[in-house]
Every structure is written in C-alpha cells, then in structure tokens.
C-alpha cells in the first residue's frame, strides 16, 4: 500500500480541503487489518486532522483530537450513523439503534436504562458465577494442553456466560457471533466485507429480532430487566426490544476480541505473564491494558452537525469524521512507551471503550469477564506458547484473530 502524503494532489470527486493533509490509505483494507500500526503512525504524523481520499472523509488519529471529538456529541453527532453511511442521505440497513445512533436528549433516557441494567450493582450479582465459569474453563483447557485460543477460549468463555446472563434460549445461539460481526462490518464503507455480511444477514437478523421479544427472554436476565423498565415507564414497550438488540449486538463479539487480545498479549510478552502471575490482582489492569494495546474496536465515525473548527481547520456541516481509537491508544503524545504491553500501566483515559456519553455501556460487564478470566490464568497457568500460524480475522470495525494456536502448562 502506498501511504504517501499527497497534500497537493487532486482527487476526482472532492479532494482534500485546503491545508488538510490528504492520504490514500484505506483503513478498511486487508493490508490495514493485517497491520494497522505503521499506518496509524503515518496518520498521526501527517497532522492532527487528515483527509482520507479513498472514502472522502476526515480522520483524526491523535489522542487529543479523538478525545475531543468523542466528548463533543452535539457537534460530532451519532444520530446520522457511526459508520460511513450518513443516515441523512441513506436509509440504515436495519432500524436505527436508539442508543448508539442517537443524540441527546433522546439518547439520555435510553442510555440511563442500559446503565442501570449493567450497573456496578448488577455486576456484583454475576461476578461469582462468572469467576467459577472462568476457573472451570481454564481447568478444562489445561487438561487439553493445546488448543485454539480464539475458538476454545476467547469465544467459548463469553459464550458460556453472556447468553445465559441475557436470558436467551439455548436454540439458535450460533447466530450471535455472525450477527455481531455483521453489525460491526456494517459500520465500514460499502466494500466487499460489508456487502457480503449484509447479503447473508437475513437468518441472523430474524434470530436476533425474535430473541429481543419479551416472551423469549428468561426472567432475571439482562433482557428481562430491560423490558421491566418499560413497565416502570422509563421506555416504551416498543423501545425495549431495540435496547435488548443493542446488548446482543455489542455485548459478545467485543468481549471475545478483548479476551482474545489479552491472551495474545500474554503469549507474546512472557515477562508480563510472569508479572501477572506474581500478583493476580493485576488481572483487571492486564485486561484493560490489552484493550488499550490492541483496541478491539478500532474505529467509529461521527457526523458534523454544524461548521466547526478542529485543530485549526474549518470543517463544514454534514461531514463524516473517522476516529482512529487504536491510533489514539498508542499516541506517543499521550502514552509513554506506547508499543509496549505493560500490565502495571496506568490505563485510565484510554479510548478503547470510547469516551464521553457514548462510552461503552457494557464496559463493566466486559471488565468482569476479562478480569476473572485473566485472574484464573494468573493462578493456574505457568506458560503460554504460540504453536502455529496466527491468523487475523477481517472486520471493518473489530480487530481480532481468527486463530491463535497455543499450548499452556499448569502452574
């Protein structure tokens, strides 16, 4: 890929606004998915605001600007879609999310409902069970010794706790990961990944739509809790299934990639596994640092609601701005030694879960799952060795692996 700066060049359709460095990198290409870091560096060093020729959008890759855009939701809105598609010009492929793709004041009410369903108190309720399940999973994997850390650990563990916690039926759960993959691919441009995901989506969409209905959700689960908020009058009965859909869209694949990232980090940095083993209370931070280091959610878009100045440049109304969360999380302007995975790093402020009013509403749930799994590894696993080719999984938004063959030994 040529990733040269072409400030003075002219693109056929629009061209870069005067003074904004123009780059011909494609953040939704195979080359980028394989290794985004060199391109992140080019994006950050080109300037605080760049123009991406390929898709005619602005981009921000430095921490300060990514943080600023995330924290100004009235100027950089979500209601016109957080993917490339502008809902003011194109019909969304599915009914619009009433939390992710909403702005205040509409967002405030739905956000409050999910915040309460996934509150610190709710996490206390699931923590013990999640911990026991993580310990059992690690015991099972230690007995096997060699396995694929993606399918058998990063996917298997969340699948053993999340669907039950939601209150889903047993049948059809194989649709959950393909549905999430579809949702995150759909935020990208109209490339092959996105087109194919949407073309194949009908059964996954039908499954998820059915599971969002009240009669299909077991009492006591997060899904039933959302519906109960309709009884309390906080949302309408029509809104409840859409909020359950948000949990099903965002609650599984993200955690899979977060746990996968953490195991991949511990496999590549044995000194950090040793550090974690010497103090298992670092598990929570080791997970958080993996989120910073790998940024399982790589990008999101916002749309300008008015003319605005950003980093000294004027951006017109109705422009898409692509935020590179992964690049911000390794911006040397913000982080010391950013390309090193350090389980003792102070990670507060990373944007791997976003920032501001749209910051991941399920972050506490993700952290419980990640923490208890890494704590189980810290107590039970002496070493992690990569034993075969590591394969990347391609998705327009999510960064993760398709396959990570490893062998672990007991402590």
């Amino acid at each position: 890929m040529s990733a040269t700066s072409r400030t003075d060049s002219v693109t056929p359709e629009r061209g870069a606004p005067a003074g904004v460095p123009s780059l011909d990198v494609d953040p939704f290409s195979t080359e980028f998915f394989e290794d985004p870091h060199a391109i992140h560096d080019i994006l950050r060093e080109a300037g605080p605001l760049v123009w991406l020729d390929k898709w005619n959008v602005y981009g921000v890759a430095r921490y300060a600007e990514v943080h600023a855009v995330l924290n100004d939701p009235l100027t950089f809105c979500s209601s016109r879609g957080v993917g490339l598609s502008d809902f003011a010009k194109e019909k969304p492929w599915r009914p619009q999310s009433i939390i992710l793709e909403a702005d205040p004041p509409a967002h405030t009410r739905t956000r409050a409902v999910l915040s309460q369903v996934l509150s610190p108190t709710a996490m206390k309720g699931v923590r013990e069970h999640f911990t026991a399940m993580a310990a059992a999973k690690v015991d099972e994997l230690l007995a096997r010794g060699s396995f694929d850390a993606v399918a058998d650990l990063a996917e298997a563990y969340p699948l053993s706790v999340f669907p039950d916690a939601m209150g889903l039926k047993q049948e059809g759960r194989e649709n959950l990961l393909p549905y999430a993959s579809l949702v995150f691919n759909s935020f990208g441009p109209p490339n092959q990944l996105r087109q194919e995901a949407i073309e194949r989506s009908a059964p996954h969409q039908a499954y998820v739509a059915a599971q969002c209905q009240r009669e299909n959700l077991a009492p006591g689960g997060f899904g039933a809790c959302v519906h109960a908020r309709a009884d309390a009058g906080d949302i309408t009965p029509e809104e409840a299934p859409l909020l359950v859909r948000s949990l099903l869209s965002a609650g599984l694949d993200t955690t899979v990639n977060g746990i996968g990232a953490a195991v991949y980090c511990l496999a590549r940095f044995p000194d950090q596994l040793a550090r974690l083993r010497s103090d298992p209370t670092l598990a929570r931070n080791a997970f958080e640092e993996a989120i910073r280091y790998e940024s399982p959610v790589q990008t999101f878009f916002r749309t300008t609601t008015r003319e605005v100045e950003l980093a000294g440049h004027r951006i017109a109304e109705g422009e898409k701005v692509l935020m590179f969360l992964g690049a911000a999380n390794r911006d040397p302007r913000r982080w010391d030694n950013p390309d090193h995975y350090d389980v003792t790093r102070r990670t507060s402020g990373h944007v791997g879960f976003g920032s501001g009013i749209h910051m991941c509403v399920g972050q506490l749930l993700a952290r419980v799952e990640g923490e208890v799994m890494l704590a189980a590894i810290a107590r039970k696993v002496a070493s992690i060795e990569i034993t075969g080719p590591v394969k990347r999984r391609y998705n327009n938004t999510l960064r993760g692996l398709e396959s990570l063959p490893i062998t672990i030994s007991p402590a």
Binding site: T121, K124, S348, G349, S355, M359, Q363, L364
Partner: protein
C-alpha cells in the same frame, strides 16, 4: 498552587497539586494516587474513583448528579453520607486544601 489532601485507609496523607478546572480524580491519577482507579476515565460510568469527603468540605462541593448517585449505590466499598465520585468534583477556587479519604477498595 492549590492542593488536595488524600488520606489513605492506613491514615497516610498525601498532598497533591490540583489545577483549576481539573477534577479531583484527574489530579489523583496524574499524581499516581493508587487508591483511585478511575477505570472509565472520568465519564461517571464506573464508580472506581469513590472517595469520602471530609465533613467540613461537603457542603462546598458541586451538587451530585443522578448518574453519580446511582453509581455510588454500586461502589465496591460501603457508601456513606459523604461518598462522592472524585471525577465529579471539579477543582475550583475555594477548594484549596480539600480533604478526601480513600475507601479500602474500588473493586
């Protein structure tokens, strides 16, 4: 420079400088106060920057929002009448010398 005093559970006191407009959580993390985790980075979403405010200062702080109130109910350490989230305490003139005690745990 105005400052905040953090009191650790073992009674040890730490005095840190705080800038105008900075939150008590930001001042704490900038100075590596270990008792403040601040997982959500100051977005009032995680309850891991919980502090107990010295009684003399309580009335001088900005009012508590609904989000903060709800999160404090789920904080790891016991909620008390003087519990606050330090990310919601914006440091301002008149708060020089603010005394905040740290709970024994944030998780």
């Amino acid at each position: 420079m105005p400052s905040i005093i953090f009191i650790h559970p073992d009674g040890c006191r730490q005095n840190v400088e705080a800038g105008e407009g900075e939150s008590a959580m930001q001042a704490a993390t900038r100075h590596d106060i270990g008792g403040i985790l601040a997982e959500c980075g100051g977005n009032a979403m995680c309850a891991t920057c919980h502090v107990y405010v010295d009684e003399d200062w309580l009335a001088r702080l900005p009012a508590m929002g609904d989000d903060e109130d709800a999160l404090l109910d789920g904080a790891a350490a016991e909620r008390q009448a003087n519990s606050r989230l330090s990310c919601q305490i914006k440091f301002a003139a008149g708060l020089d010398g603010l005394v905040l005690s740290l709970p024994d745990r944030q998780l």
